[in-house]
């Protein structure tokens, strides 16, 4: 017999179908919410078993020893979000909701993960015990760190204010180490908090922008991002992922959280420092001899630099980086962190420094050692040749889009022009690499190869909405556009400029196709009106303010 029974379990029991129990069970639900007012005598024998379980679920004896009052510091967050259709930019998907947790870290501020609040249209904080709800707004969300800071909305009811006042900020742990024992705080559906233990099994910096992650082996599962893990009652991390198979959760550590909170509270937001280069390990002794880096054991070789980055100004492919910011780098790209031990170079670059800092880098170039200064900047999705465009942040944050903003597009004569994004490619499914035009996939996977000016993007003829004005062109889709109206274009801004100066789209030139797709000037206005009406497109263009 289960000792804790939830409403969900009762519902599933209903679906299994125990006929004579059904009406009683329905009352049980009512009973649960409105207190024990129902006469219990009417219950059948079968349902008494269930009721017993339910009674235990009510505040009472089965729940583990009463924990510290997390209700004052941990809130449930319900986010209503609405994503744009990644393939049809004027179309929004139906709104949906997701839930996670947040931690009150100062008066009026709640910390959670960025992916919880992504594309949010409404964020609600809910007090577990009282059920009181507070509306919140996103102060700052960083998709690279996967962190978000929320503030309570001004328009709160008197009740909610009272609820907010009762909130108690949780302090952040100073640091965290391997093998630390953490307390993971879980909110049960009953509104009761439960705790379980977790152990830090790994501290690692991934190659992706997110600088440092704690891998925590947990006793029980974690559901919902933002679940806090505590070290001696202080916040040690918030969860971003959980793997059932290995029973490990991934947490953003307190060191990263502290940086983020400080940064977010002292605008302008600076974000994660980024150098802008790629490297390969330099383990091969033959290659070390070839490059003339035999006298040191460490060092990695630079393979690519990203145009517009700090690295692009001073580093070049073939440079061997032997030390970063005064700390030696081994041949696999790791260093020894004073706090965390062996970590990837990525954390040294992004984790300790802020955008705007300049750091000394020891390199070997042409067999001679030298030191260069690399300016750290913030990597901004919108500056990428092919941005991801999945994660709108606030203005000035790394995301290519503002909250609720679609990518730029233009529908003229049924021809849909937009820029290529990672989100667009991946929208075609798991096998997108084989399903999309191999040229576009190649551009995306090898975008570092394309030496370019900042602001260069790939403009696509993504689809053609069939209409009499575009007969003959209707089979085209996902083609790279090199020119409009005969003028070369590098991005949608160019497209808007050229099209506006000509009073409309006259011709589109596709890569690899010598014949332009021409549109009938005289028929264009009427066609646009018709297409907007037929396909119910609210706006035929979206152009960002610049």
């Amino acid at each position: 017999m289960r000792n804790v029974l939830k409403i969900a379990d009762i519902k599933s029991a209903l679906h299994v179908g125990i006929p004579n129990v059904e009406p009683v069970l329905y009352r049980l639900c009512i009973l649960h919410f409105h207190g024990l007012r129902m006469p219990l005598m009417k219950l059948t024998a079968c349902s008494i078993v269930l009721l017993t379980g339910l009674l235990f679920a009510l505040p009472g004896p089965t729940v583990a020893a009463p924990a510290p009052d997390y209700d004052a510091s941990v809130v449930e967050i319900t986010v209503t979000y609405q994503d744009y259709d990644p393939q049809i930019p004027w179309r929004k998907k139906a709104s949906a909701r997701r839930q996670g947790y947040g931690v009150v870290i100062s008066a009026g501020q709640v910390l959670t993960t960025e992916d919880l609040v992504r594309n949010q249209t409404q964020v609600e904080l809910r007090r577990a015990k009282s059920g009181a709800k507070l509306a919140a707004t996103v102060l700052e969300a960083d998709d690279q760190l996967n962190t978000a800071l929320l503030t309570f909305s001004n328009s709160v009811t008197a009740n909610a204010v009272a609820a907010a006042n009762a909130l108690l900020p949780m302090s952040l742990a100073d640091t965290i180490r391997r093998d630390d024992r953490l307390t993971i705080v879980k909110l049960e559906k009953t509104g009761e908090f439960q705790t379980s233990e977790g152990r830090v099994v790994e501290l690692s910096a991934s190659a992706s922008p997110r600088p440092l992650a704690l891998k925590v082996l947990t006793q029980s599962s974690i559901d919902g991002n933002g679940t806090p893990a505590l070290l001696n009652g202080q916040l040690a991390g918030i969860s971003v992922a959980y793997d059932k198979k290995t029973q490990t959760g991934l947490f953003i550590p307190c060191t990263t959280l502290r940086r983020f909170i400080t940064d977010a509270n002292s605008p302008p937001y600076k974000g994660l420092a980024w150098a802008g280069f790629q490297f390969e390990p330099l383990l091969d002794p033959v290659k070390r001899r070839y490059l003339g880096v035999t006298e040191t054991n460490g060092g990695i070789v630079v393979t690519k630099t990203t145009p517009g980055s700090g690295a692009a100004e001073v580093l070049q492919a073939g440079d061997v980086i032997t030390a970063w910011d005064g700390i030696p780098i081994d041949a696999q790209g790791y260093y020894t962190d004073t706090d965390f031990g062996r970590l990837r170079l990525a954390y040294l670059i992004g984790g300790r420094r802020a955008a705007g800092d300049s750091v000394p880098v020891a390199i070997v170039r042409d067999r001679k050692p030298r030191t260069v200064q690399v300016l750290l900047k913030r990597q901004r999705d919108r500056d990428e040749f092919i941005p991801e465009a999945i994660s709108p942040g606030r203005p000035g944050s790394a995301g290519a889009l503002r909250p609720g903003e679609s990518v730029e597009y233009l529908v003229e004569g049924g021809l849909v022009l937009r820029e290529l994004t990672g989100n667009y490619l991946r929208a075609s499914g798991e096998n997108w690499k084989l399903q999309m035009n191999p040229r576009l996939v190649y551009y995306y996977l090898h975008q570092d190869k394309f030496a370019r000016q900042p602001g260069d993007h790939v403009v696509l003829l993504s689809m053609v909405l069939p209409d009499s004005i575009n007969i003959g062109y209707q089979e085209f889709h996902d083609q790279a556009v090199t020119a409009v109206n005969g003028q070369p274009i590098r991005n949608m801004a160019d497209v808007f400029r050229v099209v506006d100066s000509a009073g409309g789209l006259r011709r589109v030139t596709l890569l690899g196709c010598a014949v332009d797709l021409a549109l009938d000037k005289a028929a264009l206005t009427e066609a646009n009106r018709r297409i907007a009406e037929q396909y119910r497109i609210p706006r035929l263009r979206y152009q960002k303010e610049r």
Binding site: D284, K304, A317, K433, L434, R439, G472, G512, A518
Partner: protein
Amino acid sequence: MQAILRYGILLVITWVAVTVGLNAQAAWLGKHGFRESVVKVYTTIQREDYAWPWQPAAPSSASGSGFIIGKKRILTNAHVVSDARFIEVQREGQSRRYPAEVAFIGHDCDLAVLTVRDPEFYAEAVPMELGDGLPDLNEEVIALGYPMGGERLSLTKGVVSRIDYQLYTHSQVDSHLVIQVDAAINPGNSGGPVLFKGRVVGVAFQGIPNAQNLGYAIPLPVIRHFLTDIEDGVYDGYPEPGISHMETPNPAMRRNLGLPGNDTGVVISFIDPFGCAIGILQTNDTLLAIDGHAIASDGTVRLDGQTIEYVELLERKQCGETVAFKVWRNGQALDISVPLANRNDPFAFRYAYERRPEYFIMGGLVFAPLSRGLLMAAGGELNQWYAHHLLYYATFAKVDGLISGRDQFVVLRNRLAHPVNAYDEPYLNKIVREINGLPIRNMQDLPSAFSNPTNGFHVIRFLDDPDPLILDATETANADPVIQRRYNIPEISHIEPAGVRK
């Protein structure tokens, strides 16, 4: 245009259509005498293994169908006898099989002619006659053959349900006319005749997996083209004009091109550097007529009361003939003749048969040219970021001008593990740009490039990656005999002489 922009073409490799034959039913055969002309073809096939190119795959037995045509020849599908090490044929009623040889094979049209030396095989055989023309839709045809490996002749009836252009899966590149028959076709029937009013109008050759009652046959025009081609003793293949076109129904496009009329011509959007039209026709030329027949804006011509695609007229021609176009260029109508040929196109990426895969091993690193065989062997790896670019290079080699002096893309395809190459795994699947300062244009460049080490190193540079792979020249030379023994490799390289590749 479509041919080039339909990048999906290469993806067909993952959806290889099965070759199929027809079901059996009636016994009304005997009185027609077809029994004597249809043969079962027994083969022992040994494919190449592009993952382990120095050693072919294990042999396996297969069977197909064929039929006797004049001059003591047997017509069958190319795919029935491709990569065959041993071929036997047997006519219905014969008590033994007769060894046969491939006299001609056309991989682009999936047809082959076999001959049998023993005259006894042909005793009392009645060659089948080719029909006069294509049957119409809804005409009843019968298909004969040996589906599913059966020993006795089988017959299926069906009607012609469609005649259209379609990809021939044997080469995975070529499209020709196809007759679609509404009868289920099964493996083993391949190469069998499709008869209309007692005469051959097609050769059954492929179907679509999961599609019911759909069979495809190679139609008469393609059969005749093949037989005419081999009359001079050599199969040249279809001429390759190498032009991609766009249809011109859009009035704005027509005005933009300054085209006369309102329903004429298709406009050239791309010219293949290996086609025979290059240097003669230009992009943005509009083809108004072919051999005196006006081309409509959708690319069709009216001929003998029928509407057919102009490409079909091109397909009737042989290499060495010419085609006369009326071309609209710069506001003028010009008469332009294009001599037809089939140039060696190393970037067609046809599947190669009867050809040993090329490879070259240095320091346990296996270099191989990008080919359809290699792509198919790579399979799911193409869905990975580290190999996907091979698909791009194969698909857009010519359109995006990726060739730049090469006639092959040489790929570092494999690593036979040995201490000499312990750190070289990250370079796999990259395309070689240069070795020791010498540009690598094809496999033949490899031996000479490796014969000139750079200060005791081999420096291998790749496309799309500035990071070179470095080998110690001396260590490498010492390692290869060891690697060759350890991995049981008979030869350290196989490179075809120039001009053989196709």
